[in-house]
């Protein structure tokens, strides 16, 4: 089954409106929780008047920070603890200030509007520049200033290497702030019945959430049940520990009734965390062929008003991946995480790695332009060769697995008809009536398969492994329990394919369950492109053990030696004796009949495996984009978008294609459309889907997808992960194409998003 494009098991329910998302769940006596959000970016709270709100019929109460003072703080970096609601001051527009519970959502919304908060304004520092200015005041109280973290990632000092290099150039690149914007907003339903809460939530790591909730309430973990039901997209933004994960259970406990919170889109845009938001200062030294000799990078990250424990250190991952697919001998990297009066930032699809890929791919293009060389040729002289794999990067522990970067680029250039495109570009340049043509390349590598445990522990997880329990039912059908918590990736399907191959049972006879801490053994979760490379291997390992035991029982039933028993269509056969067969269903039933089994046989056919990957995996590839730019309006149209991906073993080509498309779509969205902005007073200017430009069907092109399959030796399946590759590869493929189309004007950079307005201005400033 591995490698076959079967339609998904997930779809039947989702297509008939029978999915179960958090907001679809109803419990008797359900109450609705709504926040009062800060309208100010930086202010002291001088008073909260909730009297009118409390008096509305149907309102059960209004609570402020003071009311939760007894609850230990949210998961935070030690020393940077934060509460659930703003206390004495607010740090950004959208920060929750109070919480209202009412019998229905309309009344709860009315009551939230009726709460009056008095603010004493403080100076607003909505940008990094303002937050680091000499007269800036500290925003987040535990910190003496707004520089939350400054880290030298490599000890390398490359000053001498840069000075010795025949050529050098500097650049400042901006990776703008984006909003993950899953179409299902964040939601929580908590029902504290008995000794502890059951919490349904739109989360990516239910066991981790269970641990955090249990810790806050001083409960043993068995008393807390967390369920991630169908989750309507997450893209990293549902991995943060939003306050509602704790407030809803606490209010359910106090009120003795179930409490649901589902954010509105308007809330999502200011309250749920954003991603990216890096400024990168780069200096690169290179020789006459374009070989990169040394790279010096300083990254400045805007972490928003209340630093998130993941967001504050995400630029570590950016630093690790700065070398991209290239043999760069020396890299010096450091980053600064800066607090500003904006919504906090944390993970968004790719979480730190797209920012690195963008940087190095833009830099390689700048080097090519500086030398008057073709960007494809400059890539070729720098690419790490297949015989250098596994490749030790300048960063300790960061070792790329097997891949053939040059082959991916060659395949891409061939599919693009690169030479033909360059000829067409020249023809159009000469014809002032023709729209400009640009070609952009992106040879990328990113991290997938998060673990292993020592790395993942740093992000607060119990481990970097993933777990699977594979259990044959007495009729020979199979239940797989897996520790991931997917939200669109199709694990029911792909993991069933893996189990089917190991167990030699039909795909249809397998169900994959996940997302419920009361059902699934300990698990890690879905993020960091870890589904196939980590969970896939856990399923493979558990299933293999079960298959081996089934074979032993079959041998006993066939009165043969286990070594002589081989799997056939629907069961086992003695080698060379076609009449001596037994079905898997008969074997499965036999596994529950102690009196018919050899003395000492453990009953049942099941196994739990915890798979710990040797290291991260490194999905890679080469993407190319062809754009046309209207000379009058600056409008960018994508004519072609071509992907060559190496995710190692492809489990299901249909869902793999979907993952690539979706990632590329978000990457193109970052390149052309999306940006979260704030005005000088820290007021969000993109607080709805009218103002934040999530692309629609007319805004995105068809994608051409191709694969190179180099199996990773870091895990038995040879899979590398795919969920984040598209989002990592695409932004710079598009931007490189846009800059390429304008290069004859002397244009060297266009900041994202490359909107018509911005491109037009760049064109006019240049000519």
């Amino acid at each position: 089954m591995i490698g076959s494009a079967v339609p998904r098991k997930e779809d039947a329910a989702l297509l008939t409106g029978r999915g179960t998302f958090v907001d679809d769940i109803h419990r008797p006596g359900l109450l609705h929780m709504v926040y009062v959000h800060s309208t100010e970016a930086h202010a002291l709270i001088s008073g909260i008047d909730a009297e009118e709100a409390r008096s509305l019929p149907g309102v059960l109460g209004v609570w402020t920070a003071r009311d939760f003072a007894g609850l230990p703080p949210r998961p935070s970096v030690p020393g940077l603890e934060r509460g659930y609601l703003a206390g004495d001051k607010v740090h950004y527009v959208g920060e929750p200030v109070a919480v209202v519970v009412a019998a229905d959502r309309y009344t709860a919304a009315d009551a939230a509007r009726a709460v009056r908060v008095a603010y004493e304004p403080l100076p607003v520092m909505a940008t990094v520049a303002d937050a680091l200015a000499p007269d800036a005041v500290p925003i987040f109280a535990p910190l003496p200033g707004n520089l939350a973290l400054e880290q030298q990632v490599t000890p390398d000092d490359v000053t001498a290497d840069l000075e010795a290099a025949p050529n050098r150039l500097r650049a400042r690149l901006v990776n703008q702030r984006c909003a993950g914007t899953p179409i299902e907003p964040y939601g929580v339903l908590a029902d504290w019945a008995g000794a502890g809460p059951t919490v349904w939530a739109t989360v990516q790591a239910p066991h981790r959430v269970r641990a955090e909730i249990a810790e806050r309430f001083g409960l043993a973990r068995h008393l807390v049940r967390v369920i991630a039901p169908d989750v309507g997209g997450a893209f990293g933004v549902k991995s943060s520990f939003m306050p509602e994960l704790f407030l809803a259970p606490e209010l359910s406990r106090r009120l003795g009734r179930p409490v649901k919170y589902v954010e509105t889109r308007g809330e999502h845009m200011v309250h749920t965390y954003h991603g990216r938001d890096q400024v990168q200062d780069v200096e690169v030294g290179f020789d006459a062929e374009g070989r990169v000799l040394a790279l010096d990078v300083t990254i400045t990250v805007n972490v928003g008003g209340v630093p998130d424990p993941v967001g504050i250190g995400l630029a570590t991952l950016t630093s690790y991946m700065l070398g991209g697919c290239y043999r760069i001998p020396k890299i010096a990297a450091r980053f600064r995480s800066v607090v500003t009066n904006t919504t906090p930032t944390a993970s968004y699809r790719g979480a730190g790695r797209p920012e690195a890929s963008f940087l190095i791919e833009r830099v390689v293009d700048l080097v090519a332009r500086e030398l008057g060389k073709d960007p494809a040729d400059v890539r070729k002289v720098n690419l790490i060769q297949p015989d250098e794999m596994p490749y030790q990067t300048p960063f300790e522990g960061i070792v790329y697995d097997e891949a053939d970067y040059p082959a991916a680029l060659d395949l891409l250039l061939g599919e693009l008809d690169y030479a033909g495109l360059r000829a067409e570009q020249a023809r159009r340049l000469a014809d002032p009536a023709a729209p400009l043509l640009g070609v952009g390349l992106s040879t990328f590598v990113e991290m997938g398969g998060f673990g292993p445990t020592p790395l993942f522990e740093q992000f607060g997880y119990l481990g970097g492994w993933e777990s699977a329990n594979v259990r044959l039912q007495p009729d020979g059908s199979v239940i797989v329990l897996v520790g991931t918590a997917p939200h669109g990736q199709g694990h029911q399907t792909a993991l069933a394919q893996i189990a089917a191959d190991q167990l030699n049972v039909p795909f249809e006879a397998i169900s994959v369950l996940y997302g419920d801490t009361a059902v699934v053994q300990e698990g890690t979760g879905t993020m960091g492109s870890r589904g196939m490379p980590v969970a896939g291997n856990a399923v493979r390992q558990a299933a293999a053990e079960v298959a081996a035991k089934a074979r032993t029982i079959a041998a006993h039933m066939l009165e043969a030696d286990a070594d002589d028993v081989v799997p056939i269509g629907d069961g086992f056969q003695v080698n060379g004796a076609p009449e001596a067969t037994v079905t898997l269903a008969a074997v499965a039933e036999r596994a529950f009949k102690p009196h018919l089994l050899p003395e000492g046989t453990v009953l049942g056919l099941e196994n739990t495996a915890y798979f710990e990957p040797k290291n991260l995996s490194y999905p890679s590839g080469a993407h190319g984009c062809v754009v046309e730019i209207d000379r009058d309006t600056g409008r960018v149209s994508i004519l072609r978008y071509v992907c060559v991906d190496d995710c190692g073993t492809v489990i299901n080509p249909l869902t793999a294609r979907g993952q690539i498309h979706g990632g590329v779509a978000q990457g193109i969205a970052q390149a052309l459309y999306e940006k979260v902005t704030f005005d000088g007073d820290g007021r969000p200017l993109a607080a709805s889907l009218e103002d934040y430009m999530v692309p629609g069907p007319l805004d995105l092109p068809p994608y051409e997808t191709h694969h190179i399959e180099t199996k990773s030796s870091f895990n038995p399946l040879g899979a590398k992960g795919l969920g984040e590759a598209g989002a990592t590869a695409a932004p710079q493929a598009v931007v490189n194409a846009v800059v390429d189309a304008l290069a004859h004007l002397g244009v060297r950079d266009v900041e994202m998003p490359c909107t018509p307005e911005r491109v037009w201005k760049v064109m006019h400033d240049a000519s």
Binding site: P7, G17, P185, R265, G658, G662, L689, G696, P697, L700
Partner: protein, 155 residues
């Protein structure tokens, strides 16, 4: 106030608040939770249903405005003989990932095919322009609708 609304062929008569949105009437009053809510600015289309055969965003219509009308939701599409061609097309062509935009997308595509049984790719993209999907990048949705057009259309 009292409204009479036929939903998926079933007449319903309910006492409602005048400000109740049709989407909340469907989801909360009738427990038809297949119709989703993804925004508050009529931008995303997750709430798309058919109102007297026309695709509308049920978050922008009051239940009161639907009084006397017939509504078809995602729950009303599949028959005893299985998925509708549009639903089956989405399954065959992997036109959904998380499935949250899907009910709205399927309803919009059904309305599109009722009007244009054999649309071009551009017509499909245009017909779905009021619906956002954050997972698929749209191409496989377009292919799903093409599959449906070739296999029974809007039924």
């Amino acid at each position: 106030m009292r409204v009479e609304i036929t939903v998926n062929g079933q007449p319903h008569s309910r006492e409602i608040e005048p400000r109740l949105l049709l989407v909340h009437f469907l989801r909360d009053t009738l427990s038809l939770t297949g119709t989703h809510i993804g925004c508050d600015t009529s931008s995303c289309g997750a709430c798309t249903v058919l109102l007297d055969g026309v695709a509308i965003k049920s978050c922008t219509v009051l239940a009161a405005q639907a009084d006397g009308c017939a509504v078809t939701t995602i729950e009303g599409l599949a028959g005893e003989d299985g998925l509708s061609p549009v639903q089956e097309g989405f399954r065959q062509c992997h036109g959904l990932q998380c499935g949250f935009c899907t009910p709205g997308m399927v309803m919009a595509a059904t309305a599109l095919l009722a009007e244009r049984p054999d649309p071009t790719e551009q017509e499909i993209r245009n017909g779905l322009k009021g619906n956002m999907c954050r997972c698929t990048g749209y191409q496989m949705i377009v292919e799903s609708v093409q599959w449906a057009a070739a296999n029974g259309g809007a039924r």
